[in-house]
């Protein structure tokens, strides 16, 4: 599956690109895989146990949570949602 990362995240992790392929069964697992490659990344997207309030995740264009399952070749968009000027 392919993850699309917000542009606000890439400056924080050297080598991180906007699009990454990982193998995972749920959104939470996908973020775990990302965290293994870029330690600390999961905490930038999640509070303990849940997504951060202004981080929105979509699986194949449908709003998703950490528990949302992923089919093979799914597209996962991580969005830094608008939160003020």
């Amino acid at each position: 599956m392919n993850i699309h990362i917000p542009s606000t995240l890439t400056p924080l992790f050297p080598g991180l690109t906007r699009h990454i392929d990982v193998d995972a069964c749920t959104v939470g697992e996908a973020l775990e895989r990302l965290d293994e490659r870029y330690p600390g990344l999961r905490d930038r997207l999640c509070e303990p146990g849940k997504l951060r309030p202004h981080i929105h995740v979509y699986v194949d264009k449908e709003r998703a949570e950490l528990e949302t399952p992923l089919r093979e070749n799914a597209r996962l968009d991580v969005i830094a949602a608008i939160s003020g000027g």
């Binding site: 997207l45 509070e47 951060r52």
Partner: protein
């Protein structure tokens, strides 16, 4: 050759201003990926800049630079509570002393780093204090949700320091954070108190570098001075245009000299009468002088936040303050005359002036 470095935290990142003569300034930034900055400090012992930040998207982190901003790193490792507890949304305050860095966060608590800001661990949230049962919930926090707005180390005792909780008051530990004692004796409150020991709104708490027992505070209702290390306070508001303000600074060499910026206490929260003014006392608050030479008046409705003023440590010390609308003012003669150093920065949240060799 020594230079004065002014760290200016803003709502859109950190800026660094440098000068060798305090007349001509070089400005660099924004740093920290333009994250909202709540406080920035310089650790003289390690030569490291630490920046307290909180991104609405990506949470709390402390940025750091050991080469005056040429290169940066950041860390949020360990800056969180366990699952089910209230989340840490921002780092509000920093101090560096005795080989460690203390970070005050929302929801109110203190984290420490003993490896130069690479990793953090929870030190204390003032557990056991009756007030903590109330202030730990962010819904009981005043606007801004800053939480633990300041720690204040003792210069000679690494186990002893103050913690200031937004809207609740000041506590002191003498055992490295294991136990705490309220230190609010003498403060006023214009609201009902559940317990006279706490419930005070101490905007800014300062210790004189010249005398560890001399403290000044600017609060929601009054300016105060302490001569006994913060065990008790005497109000020194008389002579100021109001009893409300955020920013204050203490003289690096004279225990009795302090600077404060009183504000309109109502919704305005700008300086009085459209005149930008700093007020100074040279006798520990017995009298006050208004300093305005070179500062804008006649329609200048500017405000300064709690970390918005600082002094350098030169023999004739400089005074600096930044406004919530992005102007930075400085004085190279202890406030006798002022000039505008920067005009169009983002809203300024913190100012820290240091002398770097």
């Amino acid at each position: 050759m020594s230079q004065v470095v002014v760290l200016v935290g803003t709502r859109k990142g950190l800026f660094i201003l440098q000068s060798e003569d305090r007349r001509s300034w070089r400005t660099r930034g924004p740093f920290c990926e333009s994250w909202p900055v709540y406080h920035a400090i310089y650790d003289d012992s390690s030569g490291t800049i630490y920046v307290a930040a909180g991104s609405e998207w990506h949470g709390a982190a402390v940025w750091r630079s050991s080469d005056l901003g040429e290169t940066w790193d950041w860390s949020g490792e360990g800056l969180k509570y366990a699952e089910g507890e209230f989340p840490v949304t921002k780092v509000s305050s920093l101090t560096a002393a005795h080989g460690r860095v203390l970070a005050g966060v929302s929801a109110p608590g203190i984290f420490e780093s003993t490896d130069g800001g690479v990793t953090w661990s929870h030190l204390s949230s003032l557990e056991g204090q009756p007030a903590q049962e109330k202030f730990k919930d962010p819904k009981n926090s005043p606007p801004g949700n800053l939480g633990l707005i300041a720690t204040l180390p003792h210069p000679d005792d690494d186990q002893r320091f103050f913690a200031n909780v937004q809207g609740y008051g000041v506590w002191e530990t003498e055992d490295g954070g294991s136990s705490w004692t309220p230190r609010n004796q003498g403060f006023r409150a214009d609201w009902p108190l559940e317990d006279p020991a706490w419930g005070y709104c101490v905007h800014k708490l300062l210790r004189s570098p010249a005398d560890a027992d001399r403290l000044f505070t600017m609060t929601h209702v009054g300016a105060y001075v302490s001569s006994d290390g913060g065990n008790s306070y005497t109000e020194i508001t008389e002579g100021l245009p109001s009893d409300f303000g955020f920013a204050a600074a203490v003289h690096p060499h004279d225990r009795d000299t302090a600077y404060m910026i009183p504000l309109d206490p109502q919704h305005g929260r700008y300086m009085h009468d459209g005149q930008v003014a700093v007020w100074t006392t040279k006798d520990a608050g017995s009298s006050w002088q208004k300093l305005t030479k070179g500062l804008p008046g006649d329609g200048a409705y500017l405000g300064v936040l709690r970390e918005g003023m600082s002094m350098d440590s030169l023999d004739e010390p400089g005074v600096y303050f930044g406004t919530s609308t992005g102007q930075l003012f400085g004085s190279a003669d202890s406030g006798g005359s002022w000039s505008e150093i920067a005009t169009y920065l983002p809203g300024i949240t913190s100012v820290e002036a240091v002398v770097v060799d």
